[in-house]
């Protein structure tokens, strides 16, 4: 169990900055997810915590100790990678034994056997123990790889997109398993992903990375409901948040040809703004702006309705029981309290001082 702190950490590779001045505080026993696109610096951040990379500037603290100059072995972390990194030509059991047979800290044979049995039971891989790793399916390999991490009871678990090489069904199953595993172990997990669904469904807290900078840290609800800027607003949520440019004037939001009531609307009149509204916060029917239904996607539990109003495209989600036809004209309103207002120039949310 451990508490991780990054203090002003930056990293550049051959002069090219990859991480820009990150401050991060991950509480003991927390499931923390770093979310970002490819090249955002997620993996670099993770590798700096693991001790595989050294920060150019800044310090890394684990459990109240400055570990910046420590090697990976000394930090007592476990790492699960996308490529599984199982040792080839060994059986599953030998792979699980590997971290326990380190000459740095010898462990009694009986203890090794007990631990492996326990891990195998937890991950349901008992029947695979004597199989060679190249005879395993992707899901089985990733289970073994996770097993190799937990068998040692390290201070911190680091996971670098461990699920992204798996097919959708398996990914979903392992997502749930990982989350409950973390709750059972009560350990600190740092999970890196580009998949916002993974981030939102697993994380106690989520950190959003953009071009090497940490843009927002918060609970999934905060990130979703109150994004700090338009980047985060776009990054999280399917379908994405509707971002509509316009101005605010006397309790109304004027978005080109569309006008919505926006009584509590913060921010100055006459300033260029972007109004962000989640698809489920659009209200179809009743009073509102006339919009034409351009497309309907049925997703089982809900429908995604694409609308066109005043030359702007909107996406709304409605229960699957609501019936529309393509070409229908519907009045559209919004739940004003849930609308997030951004500054058009900086993209910052006004609630976050933009």
């Amino acid at each position: 169990m451990a508490h991780i702190e990054l203090k002003g950490v930056s990293k550049s590779f051959a002069g090219v900055p990859a991480i820009r001045d990150i401050d991060l505080d991950i509480a003991d026993g927390e499931f923390f997810v770093l979310l970002g696109e490819t090249g955002a610096g997620k993996t670099t951040t993770l590798r700096m915590i693991a001790g595989l990379e050294k920060p150019t500037t800044g310090r890394v603290w684990i459990d109240g100790q400055d570990v910046t100059d420590w090697g990976a072995a000394a930090r007592d972390v476990a790492l699960v990678l996308q490529q599984y990194s199982l040792y080839p030509r060994y059986t599953v059991r030998q792979n699980l034994e590997f971290p326990l047979r380190s000459p740095i800290r010898p462990i009694a044979e009986a203890e090794i056997a007990t631990r492996i049995a326990k891990v195998a039971a937890t991950l349901r891989i008992e029947h695979l123990l004597d199989r060679k790793t190249d005879r395993l399916s992707g899901g089985e390999m990733q289970r073994v790889s996770i097993g190799r991490a937990i068998v040692r009871t390290p201070k911190v678990f680091l996971m670098d997109e461990p699920l992204s090489a798996l097919d959708a069904k398996l990914r979903e199953a392992l997502r749930g398993e990982l989350k409950s595993l973390q709750m059972d172990l009560g350990e600190t997990f740092l999970f890196v992903t580009h998949d916002q669904v993974e981030a939102m469904s697993m994380g106690d807290r989520v950190g959003v990375l953009n071009k090497g900078a940490l843009v927002q840290v918060g609970s999934p609800q905060e990130i979703y409901g109150n994004p700090v800027n338009t980047f985060v607003a776009r990054a999280v949520g399917t379908p994405a948040m509707n971002l509509l440019t316009g101005v605010w004037a006397g309790g109304r939001a004027e978005l080109g040809a569309m006008v919505f009531d926006h009584p509590g609307g913060q921010g100055a009149a006459g300033r260029g703004l972007v109004f962000g509204v989640r698809p489920e916060d659009l209200v179809l029917g009743g009073d509102g702006v006339e919009a034409v239904v351009t497309d309907i996607e049925n997703h089982g539990v809900e429908k995604i309705i694409s609308l066109s109003a005043g030359g702007q495209a909107l996406r709304a989600t409605v229960p699957v029981t609501v019936k529309f036809l393509r070409g229908d004209t519907v009045p559209v309103g919004w739940q004003a309290a849930r609308v997030v207002v951004f500054d058009a120039k900086s993209g910052q949310s006004l609630r976050h001082g933009g």
């Binding site: 990194s85 030509r89 590997f98």
Partner: protein, 303 residues
Amino acid sequence: MNPEARVAQQTLAPTAPRAHGMSDLAIRNLFIIPTIVFLIVFNIFPLIYSLGYSFTDFRASSNDPAHFVGLDNYRTLLSDPNIWSNFTITAKYVIISVTGQVIVGFGVAMLLNRNIPFKGLLTTLLLLPMMLSAAVVGLFWKLLYDPSFGIINYAFGLGTFEWLADPKMALYAIAIADIWMWSPFVMLLSLAGLSAVPKHLYEAAAIDRASGLYVFFRITLPLVAPILMIAVIFRTMEAFKTFDLAYILASQPTTEVISIRLYKMAFQEWQTGLSCAFAYIVLVMVLAITNIYVKYLNKVKER
């Protein structure tokens, strides 16, 4: 023309020979046939012909016709203690030379397998000995070993130490020259094997707190072993047949490896029939050794 015939002609048309150029088959034959002819004339035919000679008392230097003597040649050779001493010398030479090449070659490959400046240039330069002709290497080393003006004695302060004239030392001296020449070959293959080991395995091992030695024996060596085995097979076969280096460097009875004995038997003593039988014994031995290696290689690969 009846309709059926017309259909037949149409369906055949695409496979009919083209009017211009050669068919793929013709081109293939054109490339393959000369090689096959060459192989038959210079390899297969002499191989079979010499098998015939190995059962006769034929001497290429005399006009006497060959007489069939059955297995006499084989019996003579296998019961000759001198021949067995030739085999012992060869075995000793193979073991020293191949072991040395594996240690030096693999060691240098380990050193090269990291980010160092001028890695490409360094690798190419290190490969140079392998590209020289063995005769040239032999002449070089003869000068290097020279007791009075050789640079080796000068550099190590050995006075007038006799490398090649000393019956005990000469075989080692030849093996050292061979190690110098062929370690790059082992290095090249090892380097290929080493660079194929995925980097993330080393990172995982670092995270798992494995020591350097442990990583070497449990990750590096098992993954490089198959390609290293191939290097060993090639080098063993070559060392077993070694002739040029040994012939040029020394002419001690203690350096008389089987190829030299065979050469003397065939072209100095003109015992053609006997030397053919000898060559066949050597052939069978090389095949046997290679087979053992290949079996072992497959085992290593399966693990």
